[in-house]
């Protein structure tokens, strides 16, 4: 006799908790062949705003953690992902409709990406900042500083990015002390929600990474125009609408001079530029005097 399985209810991840959408809405997650996988929460404007509130609340504490500490927290995500590798491979193979080998390669790449970015946490400031030889008796140093709250649209391609793409936009933003609200891959959101289960049991403080599932076309405009969002990563926004809808998001972001990173194709490759895209350069002067 076969055992009746217990399907999981997939919810949002906001402020370290797993709420349903306040709107009560869900949408069916379908395999490429048309099979029903699950109902995912369909985040609303209110959910997006709640997520920004949670991200803002968590940001100062996260940014004030030592860089060594943030690096270890990110590394621990990789450790936990490794332990649940089989689950992610199965989930991705099923929802993206790819082979187990392809899914495995994506999970491995995601794990390695967390490790790569974890190592940058206590180094990027040495590369992005510098002392400045000004003409006068002054100590002068430029240091990078987290921008604050970053809202991201994860890559939306049908295959190859549902976990890797999410990691590739979240990791470089949070390592410097930003907190993130990310809209997951719309068609394959399950691994993102499973990742949030990893995050909830790792050392990432609640609110540092907030994951919304649903329609980027619907949620992104609220995030783009949100006055308490400091930067907007439109990595996956190039697939919204006719492909140029992201320009409207950039226009909305201009209202509060929100920094905007334009769309990319696929999962963005790990790079120092993705780290420095979400930091401000702060320059500090101090007088020098013997007396």
């Amino acid at each position: 006799m076969t055992r009746l399985t217990v399907p999981k209810t997939y919810k949002l991840y906001i402020g370290g908790a797993f709420p349903r959408s306040e709107s009560g809405r869900t949408y069916a997650v379908i395999t490429p062949k048309g099979g029903f996988l699950a109902n995912a929460a369909k985040a609303s404007r209110k959910d997006a705003r709640d997520a920004v509130v949670a991200a803002r609340a968590a940001q100062p504490t996260w940014a004030s953690a030592t860089a060594y500490n943030r690096g270890q927290v990110l590394y621990r995500i990789a450790e936990l992902l490794e332990g649940r590798r089989a689950q992610f491979v199965a989930e991705i193979a099923e929802s993206e409709g790819v082979t187990a080998a392809a899914a495995g390669a994506q999970v491995d790449a995601a794990i390695d990406l967390w490790v790569w970015y974890a190592g940058w946490a206590d180094k990027y400031a040495q590369v992005a900042g510098n002392g400045n030889p000004v003409s006068g008796p002054y100590f002068n140093i430029s240091v990078p500083d987290a921008m604050g709250v970053v809202a991201s649209i994860a890559p939306q391609e049908r295959t190859g990015v549902s976990l890797l793409g999410l990691a590739a936009v979240v990791a470089p933003a949070v390592l410097s002390g930003n907190t993130v609200v990310v809209v997951a891959n719309e068609q394959s959101p399950l691994s993102a929600i499973s990742l949030s289960e990893v995050l909830a049991t790792s050392d990432v403080p609640g609110g540092v990474i907030n994951i919304l599932t649903g329609s980027p076309a619907e949620i992104a405009p609220w995030l783009a125009s949100h006055a308490d969002v400091n930067a907007l990563d439109l990595a996956g926004a190039g697939t919204i609408g006719d492909g140029s809808a992201w320009i409207d998001l950039q226009i909305a972001a201009a209202e509060t001079l929100t920094r905007v990173l334009p769309p990319v194709i696929g999962a963005p490759a790990p790079s120092l530029e993705r780290i420095t895209a979400f930091v401000e350069t702060k320059t500090i002067w101090h007088t020098k005097a013997m007396a």
């Binding site: 590369v127 992005a128 510098n130 400045n132 030889p133 000004v134 003409s135 006068g136 002054y138 002068n140 430029s142 921008m147 400091n230 190039g238 140029s244 992201w246 320009i247 950039q250 226009i251 972001a253 201009a254 209202e255 509060t256 001079l257 920094r259 905007v260 990173l261 334009p262 769309p263 990319v264 194709i265 963005p268 490759a269 790079s271 530029e273 420095t276 895209a277 401000e280 350069t281 702060k282 320059t283 500090i284 002067w285 101090h286 007088t287």
Partner: protein, 503 residues
């Protein structure tokens, strides 16, 4: 005769050899403008200095075409060391003509000769000298292994530091290998046109630098021109916002240096003599026409009365008057429009219940003048505390704890500058960490240097000018800011050698 009464010591204008009228500087020559010409006014006397040609859309297109041609045929093919040599030449010519430039700047802008002579023009020369050296060392700037220029840069600058802002824009752009079209502010085009002469004297290849004076519509046409690759703007936050909107999706690399409402934080243990001088230079330097001005004074509560009293005494010793007089501390407000803005905001300050104080000082009959002004009894909700005034108006607030100082300092949509005055180094460093501002001056204020990155958080804009960081605004690909956007197909065909899509 009090110790404050000096005989006038005006700098002579005989060093100037101004023309009656100036054309646009396009493709190496002064040419007639198709837009409406306008007079540049001396704000201290309201007398016209010279008639300035205005650029219309056709002129903008001509200038961009010239810059593109110069980029394709000359500048992008030149070695970095030769580009650097041209910039060194320009730096030297500026040093040689510094007195003349200082007088012209004071005449056109209204700022005291003491400031143009000792601050503006020396920094202009330093800026070109600094970036000249980068031109053949770009691969060492930490901005990628083989950094490449963007192409044509559209640059729009304000009236508060006319020639200095020109230097901040043109020096890094040329060093990085771009050609430029620059629009100076309509009230202060004079030194930009003298700079055009300097480009001629330096034998800079035609079209590498193009200067097109005009009104806001000229700037609008320039930044929205389809064939510019970079846009750099310094000015007000509303205009910056409009540029961010209009360039969205265009793939143009954008840097914005916008407004500010800097907090100058004074602790009770501060070296008080220096702090008072720092407060004064923080807000009354350049008539307060400084985006990074320390316009909000945050004083620890127990020393509030002492600081305000000493500040009032110090202000009563400032000399307001002829910008060309070497004794002058406070010059003229740049324009009638700006004077009106400062007056209106100050009246709003009074009507909202703040207490207004200015020293007794004689205001010249002609010209645009505003006496240094302090507002006390101010609350954080007052408009004079929240909005940029861009004039010699200081609001004084108090705090009790360092945490309260940080909270109040950061309570603004801007994030350009902040000052800290304390003798306790550990407290200074902890505060500097928490202030959301691009430049933090500790026990000093309003210091600038070409090696030191400058620029804001939040609504003070994005990108940095100065230092290694300042190069990234004018280089492709690897940068401290966002990688270039995918090119919008409608705006231009793929140019040779340019990547179609960001990675």
């Amino acid at each position: 005769m009090s110790f404050l009464e000096y005989a006038p010591a005006p700098e002579s204008t005989s060093i100037l050899n101004l023309r009656k009228s100036y054309g646009l500087f396009i493709d190496g020559d002064f040419v007639d403008g198709r837009g409406e010409s306008f007079p540049s006014i001396n704000p201290a006397t309201e007398k016209p200095i010279a008639e300035i040609a205005g650029a219309n859309e056709v002129d903008v297109d001509r200038a961009v075409t010239a810059a593109r041609r110069a980029y394709d045929s000359t500048w992008s093919r030149m070695s970095g060391s030769d580009r650097g040599k041209y910039l060194f030449r320009i730096a030297r010519l500026i040093q040689e003509r510094s007195r003349e430039l200082a007088v012209a700047e004071s005449l056109d802008n209204g700022k005291p000769i003491r400031e143009t002579r000792d601050v503006d023009i020396p920094l202009v020369a330093a800026w070109f000298f600094y970036y000249a050296g980068w031109a053949d060392k770009l691969e060492y700037a930490g901005l990628g292994a083989s950094p490449r220029a963007l192409g044509v840069a559209a640059q729009v600058i304000p009236w508060n530091f006319p020639l200095l802002m020109l230097a901040w824009k043109i020096a890094p752009a040329l060093a990085a290998g771009n050609t430029v079209v620059l629009k100076p502010a309509d009230t202060t085009p004079l030194t930009a046109l003298l700079f055009a002469e300097i480009c001629q004297q330096a034998e800079l290849p035609a079209g590498v630098v193009n200067i097109i004076p005009g009104m806001g519509s000229t700037g609008q046409a320039l930044v929205n021109h389809h064939d510019v690759n970079a846009v750099a703007f310094t000015g007000s936050t509303p205009v910056g916002r409009a540029i961010a909107r209009s360039t969205a999706g265009s793939g143009k690399k954008l840097t914005l240096e916008l407004g500010g409402k800097g907090a100058n934080i004074v602790f009770d243990d501060a070296a008080m003599d220096q702090a008072i001088e720092g407060i004064v230079s923080g807000i009354f330097f350049n008539q307060g026409h400084v985006c990074c001005a320390g316009s909000r004074l945050l004083v620890q509560e127990n020393v509030h009365d002492e600081v305000v009293d000493r500040l009032k005494y110090r202000l009563s010793t400032l000399r307001l008057g002829d910008p060309l007089d070497k004794n002058t501390d406070i010059g003229a407000i740049n324009s009638a429009g700006q004077l009106e803005r400062i007056r209106t905001m100050s009246e709003i300050g009074e009507s909202e219940g703040a207490e207004r104080w200015s020293p007794a000082c004689e205001i010249p009959e002609n010209g645009f003048w505003f006496a240094p002004t302090i507002f006390t009894n101010v609350s954080t909700s007052h408009r004079i505390v929240r909005e940029e005034i861009f004039g010699p108006v200081l609001s004084v607030l108090t705090f009790r704890t360092p945490a309260e100082a940080v909270a109040k300092a950061n309570n603004t949509p801007f994030g350009l500058s902040a000052g800290i005055w304390t003798e306790k180094a550990s407290r200074m460093l902890a505060l500097a960490d928490q202030l959301r501002a691009g430049v933090v001056w500790a026990n000093t204020f309003n210091k600038f240097d070409p090696a030191s990155p400058f620029g804001g958080y939040k609504e003070s804009g994005y990108g940095r000018e100065g230092g290694r960081h300042g190069l990234s605004a004018y280089l492709q690909g690897s940068g401290w800011e966002a990688p270039a956007a995918p090119e919008a197909a409608s705006t231009r065909s793929a140019r040779k050698g340019r990547k179609a899509v960001a990675k």
